[in-house]
Amino acid sequence: MGYKAKFRVWRGEGGEGGLEDFVVEVNEGEVVLDVIHRLQATQAPDLAVRWNCKAGKCGSCSMEINGKPRLGCMTRMSTFSEDETITVTPMRTFPVIKDLVTDVSFNYQKAREIPSFTPPDNVKPGEYRMQQIDVERSQEFRKCIECFMCNNVCHVIRDHEENKPAFAGPRFLMRIAELDMHPYDVADRKDSAQEEHGLGYCNITKCCTEVCPEHIKITDNALIPMKERVVDRKYDPLVWLGNKIFKRPGSSASK
């Protein structure tokens, strides 16, 4: 059954703007993105919103719905009561271009700062032999659709713009963990995770995990294990001593 819903949508350009009220028709089975599209079609033709797949797989339609980071295309209208006012705003952590569209280039910049997969010199393409159990852990991280809601919700940069240069955000700390766990990656990622990408800023309060639409256990399976690996390298005198005494040939690839 259709009904009229109350919407408040943030509208503006380059930061300046405010919440605008709308009353808009909602039909059974619709998601928030459908309603935004109806607003575009009927009342606000210049309302900007980014989307592509409408299937929760492209990561384009990240926005904040009633204050929570959500994918517009995966948030069913049936989760709200009919008399509730639904507030839709752009992601807070990134500069806004127009209306619900933010400039997420912070994330591309951070992605570029991480050295890519680095195999050992003596292994040629085609010679990689990996067992499923060796790559299983990092396969979870590859479910990421790059919606950047985890980086958006993380208080380290959401509440502290000044931390942006020092902190890669959960999405890319997870990328570092993925590479560090890779059986064939020989690059040193532990020192740089801590020194250059700001792993220490994370206080494991798990908001990234809470908002991830792919339900990746970012904190438990990537960030905390990575913190433990950094402890091995930097803060654990016993491991340090053990490595000195039993210097094993080969590097992390032989572990």
Partner: protein, 271 residues
């Protein structure tokens, strides 16, 4: 130049690169304050109880010893309460003997990844809930003193294993009656055993334990045994939060129970 707005084509006017100006601290409409409030109350009540228990003297009654005061390592401990009959700290220690070992379990829980989440949110409001602004002007997380010390958690894990062993021994001794004859099984024995199982589950589900078993390896296939252990610990680890709460309350209730028996407040047969 900051990197915060890098990547856009040049020539953008500066004011276009701002966040949406929203002054509200959060636009969340659910009861986001409920979870941190409950955590706050639960942790605070535990601290209050702990403070009382440490100075309470009735921590021993044959065959039970209260978990907060075990192992008992000073001469001031009653004969039967001394761990393996020893009193390595001698008689110069005049404070309650529980204080001697308090640091291990307290440090373990204080640096635990789950409790950190709990008190960073509930006590330090950093952040109080997701997408709710924190009140602090500056934030450096665990990058410097004092919070960088959280990285010693794994040493507390080793200590916690020792404590769990001691509590297991206490539970074994609780299978004797007050005259030292085996075969006793009172309500106290049951409570101590439930507590020991929960303490072990919590301890083994620790993230540091997960790392030590095999998390630090990149080739699970070369270490089948360690991989098995890791798989087991990972299963427990998924319930780490639940186990943290259950074991915290079980140790508190077990402790309280023994003290009530010792005080004679609980005194039915097979108590």
């Amino acid at each position: 130049m900051t990197q915060t707005t890098a990547g856009r084509p040049t020539g953008e006017p500066a004011q276009r690169k701002q966040r949406a100006q929203i002054t509200a601290r959060t636009l969340r409409t659910d009861r986001w304050w409920l979870a941190p409030a409950i955590t706050f109350a639960a942790l605070a009540s535990f601290l209050v109880y702990g403070l009382w228990a440490i100075f309470d003297k009735s921590y021993f009654v044959e065959p039970y010893i209260a978990p907060f005061s075990s192992p008992c390592l000073a001469t001031s401990c009653p004969e039967g309460a001394r761990f393996l009959g020893l009193a390595p700290f001698g008689d110069w220690w005049t404070l309650p003997p529980g204080i001697l070992i308090l640091g291990l379990p307290a440090g373990f829980r204080l640096t635990c990844y789950y409790y950190r989440k709990g008190y960073y949110r509930a006590f330090w409001l950093s952040p109080p809930a997701c997408a709710v602004a924190e009140p602090h002007k500056k934030y450096t997380g665990e990058t410097r003193l004092p919070l960088i010390i959280q990285n010693i958690h794994r040493y507390f894990f080793y200590g916690a294993v020792l404590i769990a062993l001691v509590l297991t021994w206490d539970a074994v001794l609780a299978l004797r009656d007050e005259h030292g004859a085996w075969g006793h099984f009172g309500l106290g024995t049951l409570i101590l055993w439930i507590n020991v199982v929960l303490i072990w589950s919590y301890t083994l589900s620790c993230h540091s334990c997960r790392h030590i078993t095999a998390g630090r390896l990149n080739h699970f296939s070369k270490h089948p045994l360690r991989y098995k252990m890791w798989t087991f610990v990972s299963k427990l680890n998924r319930r780490h939060m639940l186990l943290a709460w259950l074991s915290m309350y079980s140790v508190m209730l077990a402790d309280l129970y023994v003290r009530l028996v010792a005080k004679g407040i609980i005194n039915f047969p097979l108590a």
